[in-house]
Symmetry: C2
Subunit: 150 residues, 2 copies
DNA sequence: AATAATTAAGACAAAAATGTCCGATTTAAT
DNA sequence: ATTAAATCGGACATTTTTGTCTTAATTATT
């Protein structure tokens, strides 16, 4: 929703950043520990842990338990996973399909007052989330073109 | 933010619907009472009252106190007010300017990992909110092309 | 086997968003 | 003036989101 922090919920922002950082390491076939992730994305440790658990359950990243453990994502997965999957995993199904004015379903046969204005924006967002892979984000961060914290 | 209800917060959705309904009546130079608004947009009475108060303070609609009171918006205002004003009034400044990943400010010289993907979407949204007037929404609802409740 | 390092999981806590209630205030009608 | 119909404004309540803490489970190392 649109709020002071922008388009995504905080949890979702954290998830995207965390996944991207794990992805950056995945490009070099390395795993990372929770502590390093939390520091790197500037997110509270315990809360980051919770979000990582969700990503693991959603089969986006994998966790390695025990000593020398951490979180990991393979290069194959990096290519496969789109941002849509991450947003879905955190905010649930239908996130960007929902009606702008809170109708049960966005329905072209009973369009809400904002339907025609919002639809193209939502479609563009959807397209972007589907067409952007985690690898795309991870590479840009790896090349210092983009960043995970201020 | 993107959540189950779509792009806007619930408060903001209610505000947009309420303003649109007051606007629909404004097209016929009529005022409406809180009760009718709440029913028409399917939003809790007391909560709707709070949101209307914000719209009044933001100088988007006017309130008429006392018996035979209600809420009103002039045809002139209807033309002048854009959706941006309403979103601003409820979610505060900078709503759609915020960084997608929660950076203090969206800053092209230190772009977050989603900056380049999200920027065009945000720009499109901004443009739409600025270029859509309350009158546009009110007319469409008046013509039963679009709706305020399911 | 014991230890240390790590994630998993669930209970708990705090903060923010959403929603309710009630008395004060304003105004029109009688 | 009195009354009735409405908004205003602030305190309160509930729900959701965000965040913390503690204990259990898992694994590498010794
Ligand atoms: S019905 Fe509301 S966005 Fe389509
Ligand atoms: S810096 Fe995050 S959207 Fe621009």
């Amino acid at each position: 929703m649109i709020n002071k922090s922008g388009i995504f919920s905080k949890s979702c922002s954290h998830a995207l950043k965390a996944a991207t950082f794990v992805g950056k390491k995945g490009l070099e076939n390395k795993s990372v520990k929770l502590k390093e992730i939390a520091e790197e994305i500037n997110s509270p440790l315990a809360f980051t842990a919770k979000i990582l658990q969700k990503l693991v359950k959603a089969n986006i990243i994998e966790s390695i338990r025990g000593a020398k453990g951490g979180f990991f994502v393979s290069q194959e997965k990096l290519r496969q996973i789109s941002l849509k999957e991450i947003v879905f995993a955190i905010d649930g199904e239908g996130s960007y399909n929902g009606c702008a004015l809170g109708f049960e379903k966005c329905n072209a046969s009973k369009p809400c007052a904002l339907h025609f204005q919002i639809l193209p924006i939502r479609e563009k967002l959807k397209e972007t989330l589907i067409n952007t892979s985690l690898e795309d984000l991870a590479r840009a961060v790896g090349e210092n073109t983009t960043f995970l914290k201020e």
